[in-house]
């Protein structure tokens, strides 16, 4: 009996590990995909890149300090280039509380948007997120996720200067940009996008929808997105594969 005991223990650990790993995966994946129904809140007008007459809409909920969002931004640029006028991309602000400068970056993007340069700032922020993301918050505290109006920038004096530099690079009115970052208008847009995220069950970033249907993270690559977009363009849209049924929102 004792001879077989170690193998029984190893087998039991293997089963428990596989089972718990699968459960953990399903618990984090079970809410996917979700569909966006009409009438949900969100900043108006949303930030749209691409043709207004495009047949396929990609809507992203992103955080400028989230590295996977930066990778997705590059992927989406490639997709936009490939489909040109047939797709349009919407960016929704969803700065996470775990990232010290995400909210400040969202404010910077929105402030640039008030001068008509949201997407240029969007691209700059993602391209340089590794640099400004390392700026130390002063003092050390995490910005609350759901309170964009609560002094969004006390903690990030360093990044404010960096973002002002980006604004200057883009040829914006820097003084206006700095003031706009703290305005209620900017805070309200971010809050509105966060409310949209909450209303459809978005709780992490990046999250991508194509024509209102959530795309699984495993499909965040050019080939998989091409497949979904092609299906939507040909009117044969199929729900992306998911381990759970699709809950309609």
């Amino acid at each position: 009996m004792r001879r077989y005991l170690p193998f029984a223990i190893i087998g039991a650990v293997l089963l428990i590990t596989a089972g718990s790993g699968l459960l953990l995966f399903r618990s984090k994946y079970s809410s996917m995909p979700i569909k966006i129904a009409a009438g949900k809140p969100g900043a108006e007008p949303p930030h749209i890149r691409g043709s207004a007459k495009a047949r396929v809409t990609l809507e992203e909920f992103g955080d400028f300090q989230c590295p996977p969002c930066g990778i997705l931004a590059t992927t989406l640029l490639k997709v936009e280039h490939d489909y040109r006028t047939r797709v349009r991309v919407i960016f929704r602000e969803f700065p996470l509380g775990m990232h010290a400068h995400a909210l400040t970056a969202a404010c910077a993007a929105e402030a640039a948007g008030l001068q008509g340069r949201f997407w240029e700032m969007h691209d700059l922020l993602f391209q340089n997120s590794m640099q400004w993301g390392k700026e130390s918050p002063r003092p050390m505290r995490v910005i609350p996720n759901a309170e964009p109006n609560a002094s969004p920038d006390e903690t990030a004096t360093g990044v404010r200067g960096i973002f002002a530099g980006y604004a200057a690079t883009l040829g914006l009115d820097v003084e206006r940009f700095k003031k706009d970052m703290d305005t209620e208008q900017v805070g309200a847009r971010i809050k509105s996008d966060q409310e949209r995220a909450a209303s459809i069950g978005v709780d992490r970033t990046p999250i991508l929808f194509i024509d209102g249907v959530q795309i699984p993270f495993s499909s965040f690559n050019v080939d998989a997105l091409h497949a979904v977009i092609d299906a939507n363009l040909s009117g044969k849209a199929v729900a992306p594969s998911s381990p759970s049924p699709t809950p309609a929102q």
Partner: protein
């Protein structure tokens, strides 16, 4: 003539049981990192601030396979061998030494990458590094004791005669 072979090596049993427990901790850590990688979730660091940078870097996966999956495999093999060693399978000790040496080399490489390439540290990676270093110490102590025990066993009949 007296029997000089010990009935059971209790210190070794304790050492390898501890190694098995540490491997289980590493296994849980690696499984968590693998799942978060596959679901695209951004991991929150508690003690450091570089989880996102480290876990989304090119060093976090080999092709499409997350590094955590390799870690999970390594820790599971280490757990299995430590369990067998604790039950007295002599060859398991040898294989465990080889596996842990490989894990230690990988850990040192990843620590170098975090410190000098990415300039960012991840809590879960540091936890894994601490567990692997502890495993290495345990295996080294086990090897040292085994060698000492063998020497003592070889000398025992000479003393008796």
């Amino acid at each position: 003539m007296k029997n000089t072979q010990p009935a059971h090596d209790h210190p070794q049993l304790g050492l390898f049981s501890l190694a098995a427990l540490l491997s289980l901790g590493g296994l849980a850590d690696s499984i968590y990192l693998t799942v978060t990688h596959l679901t695209g979730e951004d991991v929150t660091c508690i003690a450091s601030s570089g989880c996102s940078e480290v876990l989304s870097s090119v060093y976090a996966s080999v092709g499409k396979i997350p590094l955590g999956a390799f870690g999970a495999l390594g820790y599971f093999v280490a757990f299995s061998l430590a369990t067998l060693a604790a039950f007295g399978y002599p060859r398991a000790r040898t294989f465990l030494t080889v596996v842990v040496a490989g894990m230690l080399a990988t850990t040192l490489w990843l620590l170098y990458v975090q410190a000098f390439v990415l300039h960012a540290f991840c809590d879960f990676c540091l936890l894994s590094a601490a567990l692997t270093l502890s495993l290495s110490v345990i295996v080294a102590v086990g090897c040292f004791r085994k060698r000492r025990h063998r020497t003592a066993t070889e000398q025992a009949p000479l003393v008796e005669s």
